[in-house]
Amino acid sequence: MTLTQDPEHAAPEQATRGQRRATRIAEAAGGGWGLVLLKIVLLGLILAFAVFAALVLIRTDQWVPAILVVAVALLAVWVYTGRGRLPAKYLMPGLVFLFVFQVFAALYTGYVAFTNYGTGHNADKDSAVNALMLSAQERVPDSAAYELTIVDQLGELSFLVTDPDGDVQLGGEERPLEDVSDAEMKNGKAVGLSGYTTLKFGDIVAQQAKIADMSVPISSDPNDGVLRTPDGSSAYAYTSKLVYDEAAGTMTDTRSGAVYSDIGTGAFTADDGTELKPGWQITVGFDNFTRAFTEESIRDPFLQVLVWTFVFAILSVLTCFALGLFLAIVFNDPRMKSKKYYRVLMILPYAFPGFLSALVWAGMMNQEFGFLNVVLFGGADIPWLTNEWLAKFSIILVNLWLGFPYMFLICTGALQSIPEDVQEAAKVDGASAWQVFRAIKLPLLLVAVAPLLISSFAFNFNNFSLIYMLTGGGPRDITAGVNVGATDILITMVYKVAFVGSTSDYGLASAFSIIIFILVATISVIAFRRTKALEDLN
């Protein structure tokens, strides 16, 4: 090793770089002034960011998040400035991120489950009214296009319009059009008026929100319609299909005279029950949960799907674990040569993205042209993905291929941590290889991997991408009349119920995910309780 030294610090005895670094770290851990400075800078950054974020949030009227951000930042300052509070110092970052990315997402899902958020109920009432009024503007049939110049007088905007006959008129918000004679003309278009400033394109863009909202009555008779401009350079005559009465909170259809009112269902509803779309988001209590159990398209196939979900999740864990463990034992044997290379090969399936593998497998399992049938089975006609039972088998097979490397990895790790002397002692006592495995290795191994098996179960319970990419839940029994297939698991069924049919129902989907969460959580808790018994082995 070559020694490099700072010239001004030529130590009498030549300390190695590593030693010096160790000393430095030790000093820093003792609380050098450098560390204090670093701490101040970092905390300053956090505070600055929090103030910035809070300002942005307050400006958009989001008071609760703003207060939370500031509170968390102050808490961080308090935790890291004082002496002691060591556990909090270590836990704080993790807890904050846990809250932001896990707890908040879960709580928000819970909130959405009690709303009607979905297609047709996408935003708040103001947005819905805005959208309804926008689409209600209909151009008066066969009406002319007016050439438009926008003029300004003491901050009040007016439309200076030239109709196709060359007549020039001026009007503004609630000021019907009136003829003007002294307009400045250019190429047959009025471009200016004395006493008024003509707005240039830049000015128009600067005030576009205001201009886009302007409606200039064509005459004192409201039935003639109003002039509006989509682009600031031309104006068209519109009448509105709907009239919004803000005080009464009702929409009136000007043609049929039907009155739509807000009756608390999240949409303007007429007496005969017809709704105007879009509506808006409201909370609906337990409606989504009631629907989850009464919805016909889900109630009927529910039991079948539930059973298959359990079968799939349990078999996936068992097959992957069995194969992974077997391979781990084989590759852990000291007599095995070139283990390294085999191990790399074993991990390959784990290295590909799961959904990609699923797609490739879907191609390989094509009944007529797939690799499996054509090459491995010599042109056989096996309906891997289109027969109800074979499709289930194929799903488990592909998941085995995808999942065993993970089990192989954790089993290898766990096996290597089992002390050799225990095994040797057993051998000396005359135990057979099977007995050693059954009575010593497996229980010790399970202590380490049982929690991972439970998490693997929870993962497979919701293994959406595999099912979706490989079979799409099919094959379907078309005589059943529901959009649920033989390999659909709960989560894919929920997806179909909530999102297929091109409309999205986030409220219902959230309610379902909560139900699934309760299922998985219950099973996991029971399973964890039981694995506690294993820990007594140690």
Binding site: D6, A48, S127, N130, G232, G472, G474, T503
Partner: protein, 417 residues
């Protein structure tokens, strides 16, 4: 050990960086102040969502727009398939885009969610192809400016078969006479068949999905799919499946591969597969889709375009951009050149057709096409349509007419739910 020069440097670097970061925060505060929309500096910008293929052309159009008007355009590149849902979710926050690229069959969802605003073409409406305007209309209002029309046609390998077929039987006969592995190819899915590609055959039996109102829009209350023509089509699917002409194991990829390898003279596909065929050196022509049931074989037309957000605070600038830049012949032609889809602007379309027989071929088929329904009820149809076709082609599920009736009842049930 004392403090070295190096550590002083490191700390001063951190200090400087953090000071800069703080300064950055401070200076960025007022600029985000402008969200009120009254400030000229902020209003002078529109946000446009485009997909990767369209991005380059839009960059040029945006630059021109900025040079002409001084209004900045912020182009945000998105995955096409994700644009619809992200737009629906983001528009209500008020921070969504002003303009988004999209397909016409999203309209039902977009309108029901109240996220798109009508666009007034004014006297320019005659300059666009009627089918494009029909497709971009919903409830009598035009939402957005279309730029391209896309439909399938019958791709023929002219080295294998020299003449266009007159009807489906003639095509099969010609295909068989060519002596290739397959008489005719169309990509299907083993589970969902492909109602989109099979639709022209269905319409040739006189069975559209929905009836149409007088203004050309689809009437969700008038489900036509289960009429007598539909049942004939169901029986026909079974016959073709039995004869091996239609095969649900030939997926889109396999069909393309086989056609490129010269294993079939006919391939029912869209313009997206034309470049691969010409690159491969195949001599191809685009023929009208042969009728199987005697009536016109009308494929679905898909129309792409740009929508205007209902929540846009910059409607005038966005409108100007849509109408006079996206809707200009130059941009429409440029978009055609990168995408290969026929332009929606008639002038650009005519120029494209003149220069390219393949576009002309698809355009000719497209003259006969009908817009894919954009009403939300269409979702209920897709749900049951493909699996039933698969069962029919594979001869499963018993009597074809009964199966088709069952599907119609299921669709009706899902619509009225």
């Amino acid at each position: 050990m004392k403090v070295t020069k190096r550590s002083i440097l490191a700390f001063s670097a951190i200090a400087v960086t953090s000071a800069l970061a703080l300064a950055g925060c401070a200076s960025s505060t007022p600029s985000s102040d402008d969200k009120g929309g009254d400030d000229a500096a902020f209003s002078g910008q529109i946000t446009v969502w485009v997909d990767a293929d369209r991005a380059d052309v839009m960059k040029d159009a945006a630059k021109e727009f900025t040079d002409d008007t001084g209004v900045k355009v912020s182009l945000v590149q998105k995955e096409f398939g994700e644009i619809r849902d992200q737009f629906v979710q983001q528009a209500p926050t008020g921070k969504g885009p002003d303009v988004v690229v999209g397909a016409h069959d999203w309209l039902g969802i977009l309108v029901d969610n109240g996220v798109v605003a009508p666009v007034e073409l004014g006297d320019r409406s005659d300059e666009f192809q009627q089918i494009a305007l029909d497709a971009f209309s919903y409830d009598g209002q035009l939402y957005g400016v279309p730029y391209a029309i896309e439909n399938i046609g019958l791709m023929r390998n002219t080295d294998l078969v020299s003449e266009a077929p007159t009807d489906f039987a003639d095509m099969v006969a010609k295909g068989k006479a060519a002596g290739t592995d397959y008489a005719f190819l169309v990509g299907l899915d083993p589970e969902q068949a492909d109602p989109y590609h099979l639709y022209p055959f269905q319409t040739s039996f006189g069975a559209p999905v929905f009836g149409q109102n007088s203004d050309g829009s689809y009437n969700a209350d008038d489900l036509q799919i289960g009429n007598d023509g539909g049942k004939e089509f169901a029986a026909w699917l079974g016959e073709q499946g039995k004869a091996g002409i239609l095969n649900t194991n030939i997926t889109g990829d396999l069909a393309k591969e086989n056609f490129l390898a010269g294993k079939s003279p006919f391939f029912l596909t869209g313009p997206w597969n034309a470049p691969a065929a010409t690159e491969k050196g195949l001599n191809i022509a685009i023929d009208p889709i042969p009728s199987a049931g005697g009536e016109d074989a009308q494929p679905f037309a898909g129309v792409q375009g740009f929508f205007l957000s209902a929540e846009s605070k910059n409607k005038l600038a966005a409108n100007e951009f849509l109408l006079n830049y996206v809707g200009s012949e130059k941009v429409q032609t440029a978009l055609y050149e990168v995408g290969g889809r026929a332009p929606a602007l008639t002038a650009a379309f005519d120029a494209a057709v003149k220069n390219d027989p393949i576009t002309a071929g698809f355009g000719e088929v497209g003259a006969n096409a009908v817009p894919m329904p954009s009403i939300p009820e269409m979702g209920a149809v897709w749900q049951f349509w493909g699996v039933t076709e698969t069962a029919l082609i594979n001869g499963k599920g018993g009597d074809p007419a009964a199966l088709w009736d069952k599907m119609t009842a299921d669709v009706q049930g899902a619509i009225s739910k």
